[in-house]
Amino acid sequence: MNNKNLKYITLPWRDNNPITVQVLGICSCLAVTAQLKPAVFMAVSVTAVTVLSNLIISLLRNTIPPRIRIIVQLVVVSTLVVLVDQVLKAYFFDVSKQLSVFVGLIITNCIVMGRLEAFAMHNPPLPSVCDGLGNGLGYSFILILLGFTRELLGNGTLWGYPVTERLHDIGYENNGLMLMPPMALILIGLLIWIINSRKA
């Protein structure tokens, strides 16, 4: 793997993060990050879909007629999402129930379509896979960060295990607002603020 491909993987972590810089995929980011566990599963699912769809579309890129490319991309993405959904249902039923429609909605996640349109349609398979992996990881990073913060402060647990029990004895309380989607939006806003001011 050369330097350029490595860069495709690392660039979306901070400088071109799909959530904090491109501001894509916000919907799922607000919906599934109330707890860490679904956030992690969502992150893995989306990463798998971006990597595989980028690979498939990149392989097909010279045979897809430009006029119907969106439909072709949608077919590929939906197939992959259905596969992910089936895997979750088969092996992680409780998480699958928690994520409910949001697994299906990966199809509409702008990050997936965005990478296909912007990258996989014009690049060979290996860089496309790297790009998909990078963007998936960038998305995962923010998702897991939010899931961690929201579950810890909102519910006092991590991955379902209580962590802040001792603090409750001295008057600490869980912040109910953290569990509501608006707070996730505010947290993303603050994150973008921090990133932008560090860049400036």
Binding site: G171, E173, G176, L177, M180, G189, W193
Partner: protein
């Protein structure tokens, strides 16, 4: 008295100028200098007409207008405590008056101190980092926040709410004058959604001790109306009690009488818009009368003048909805905004089963719409004038 102070300020001033030893603290110095003295800066070009009153003077008038409600609130906290907790008491004596007042003072002072310390620290820090002047907006916000909290709110939650309101409500948008939501109400809304058990229900309105968060059970009249479907006239509070504010509630929102004193000061000095105050009262009254006509349950039958006296309606109408930053700037816009604020507050109170009080949410909601209302009013005006101009030709 003032000469040595002026002399001292002039003496230390160079240290804070550019290149001085404390240049980094310039805006902090500037804030204290202009706090003590009206700045002697003059306009160099452009318009030379300046209002004699600047933001610091305007803000201090609002603070003065808040004092009657604040003092009454302090007494009421104590009164509610003693009547609920150490019965029977001889409520008529002067001693008892001062006892109540002292108890309330002990509860309120830490809240006010926390609010100012946390809020001003953040404001000064932001001003310093951005090389701005420190704005005075927080002088009023910092006093309003403890005034609209339940008397038993834990201080660390108050501090968190203040930090949230100042950072997310104000500084991210560029500080005083740039915020689109009332920061004091945002602080309350933050706690309302984050820690509902400390902000609603019947266990937060009457403090059990001078320190700490223990409380005695005692519902606010609004909550009682909602929960028990009682007839308002048959409740233990007389119309006089409600008007003077002798009932459990948020610290300083209960007394309509004390709030009206502040309202008169604000109206006489022209700091607050009379249109907004009148609009909120009219809008709320109209929707309450409408509910009287429907009259399906005892809550809908509550006469409109009771609605004015209950909960935070008057406090919101006088001190919150009139916030010049978050209210519309055009006069027709102010009417629309105020009528809807009042109407929504009563609508939320009567119809929504989850919240006994609707003033906070209705003002915050209308704050969001204020720029849109202004935009529409201006667009209509432009259209009208252009039609007039083209007709004449």
């Amino acid at each position: 008295m003032s000469k040595p102070l002026r002399h001292f300020i002039d003496k230390i001033k160079p240290a804070f100028d550019e290149g001085g030893r404390f240049a980094a603290l310039q805006s902090t110095f500037e804030a204290f200098e202009t706090f003590a003295y009206t700045p002697n800066t003059v306009t160099k070009h452009g318009s030379h007409i300046r209002d004699a009153i600047d933001m610091k003077r305007a803000m201090i008038i609002v603070v003065i207008a808040l004092i009657p409600a604040l003092l009454f609130g302090m007494w009421n906290i104590g009164y509610q405590h003693y009547t609920a907790y150490v019965l029977p008491v001889d409520t008529g004596t002067t001693d008892f008056f001062w006892q109540c007042f002292g108890f309330g003072l002990l509860r309120m002072l830490p809240m006010i101190a926390v609010s100012y310390i946390v809020g001003l620290t953040i404001e000064f820090a932001f001003a310093q980092i951005r090389h701005h002047e420190v704005n005075e907006g927080y002088l009023v916000t910092g006093l309003l926040i403890p005034m609209i909290m339940p008397p038993t709110v834990p201080l660390w939650q108050l501090a968190l709410a203040v930090a949230f309101a100042v950072v997310v409500g104000k500084e991210v948008f560029g500080g005083t004058g740039m915020n689109f939501m009332n920061p004091a109400l945002l602080a309350r809304a933050f706690l309302f959604f984050a820690y509902p058990s400390h902000m609603s229900g019947d266990k937060v309105w009457t403090a059990a001790k001078a320190w700490g968060t223990d409380a005695v059970t005692g519902a606010t009249p609004l909550a009682e109306l909602k929960a028990n479907a009682v007839n308002i006239q048959s409740m233990q509070y007389s119309l006089g009690d409600l008007f003077w504010g002798i009932m459990p509630g948020s610290c300083c929102e209960t007394s309509t009488a004390a709030i009206l004193v502040g309202a008169i000061l604000l109206l006489v000095t022209g700091i607050a818009s009379w249109r907004i105050m009148a609009g909120v009262v009219l809008g709320g009254g109209a929707i309450a009368l409408l509910f009287n006509l429907i009259g399906l349950n005892s809550y809908m039958q509550v006469p409109f003048y009771y609605h004015y006296l209950l909960g935070g309606f008057m406090f919101g109408a006088v001190f919150m909805a009139t916030d010049p930053v978050t209210a519309p700037q055009t006069n027709p816009g102010r009417w629309i905004y105020a009528l809807l604020t009042g109407a929504l507050a009563i609508l939320l109170r009567v119809v929504n089963p989850a919240y006994p009080e609707g003033m906070m949410l209705s003002i915050l909601l209308m704050n969001c719409f204020a720029p849109l209302i202004d935009h529409c009013v201006i667009a209509v005006n432009i259209k009208k004038r252009s039609r007039r101009a083209t007709n004449k030709q």
